[in-house]
Symmetry: C2
Subunit: 123 residues, 2 copies
DNA sequence: CGCTAATTGAGAATTGATTCTCAATCGGAA
DNA sequence: TTCCGATTGAGAATCAATTCTCAATTAGCG
């Protein structure tokens, strides 16, 4: 997409720098350093466009509100810290899901979410 | 819990009979046959109590609104049909999730959701 | 039966996430 | 620069799920 404004480029840059799935609220707070006075509507508008162009992915998992992360094309899953509620990307995938399907069912995608305690909270 | 009223026992009985995760709305419609005039608030109140006592489990996965199912103590995961939006239980679990964890992270639980087409919709 | 506390149904209210409205401001082509 | 369409911020509005309010009804002890 064209990054026509300072706000839009701040939002995308900050999202890329955070390097993990974040909520629109976290993103607003982080990007406000770059763009003082940034409004939440602008964050939502930017995220919506970025999701539509495939540059950003919206992640919805039970227990936490929706998060967004840069789409980097690598298949991965997620970890949710039950202590700080932060979400992390997990590399790799155990596979073997197709064998769980009952007869006649077909799989188009799958998701794995692991809940637990992150390194910071465990310390 | 004590099933003090006709409504409460209808709700639990119907939920058990449906045999798969259902939405409060589906449950309301199904249980209305047993208890005419049943209100949605009553369904939500009953589900809330049943979840608190551990008899029922609330399932939240991306793409569909919250579903509820009887807690039967068997570890399993879920299938969501992208065509009819219905949710099904999948027996078994591939395991091997712990090896996805980064150092210092601990796992307390996990969830697997498979998206695709169910047998009815594939036919 | 008679009574009181608990439960119910209907609709209003709340909640959290997200979108809309609109006047003010910005970006960039001429 | 000048101008116009696009973008922005603030707050109102929406949306779906769920909870609350309250008067009417029900359960079941005495």
């Amino acid at each position: 997409m064209h990054l026509k404004t300072q706000q839009q480029s701040s939002i995308l840059r900050v999202l890329a720098h955070l390097g993990r799935p974040v909520t629109p609220q976290e993103l607003l707070e982080a990007a406000s350093a770059d763009s003082p006075g940034l409004g939440q509507a602008t964050v939502y508008r930017a995220l919506k466009r970025l999701v539509e162009t495939g540059e950003v992915r919206k992640i919805e998992v039970a227990g936490v509100s929706p998060h967004y992360e840069m789409e980097r094309g690598n298949h991965h899953h997620f970890f949710v810290c039950e202590s700080c509620q932060k979400m992390f990307e997990l590399d790799g995938c155990p596979g073997g899901f197709r064998k769980l399907l009952p007869p006649g069912f077909t799989m188009s995608s799958h998701e794995v979410i692991i809940y637990g305690t992150c390194q910071s909270c465990a310390a």
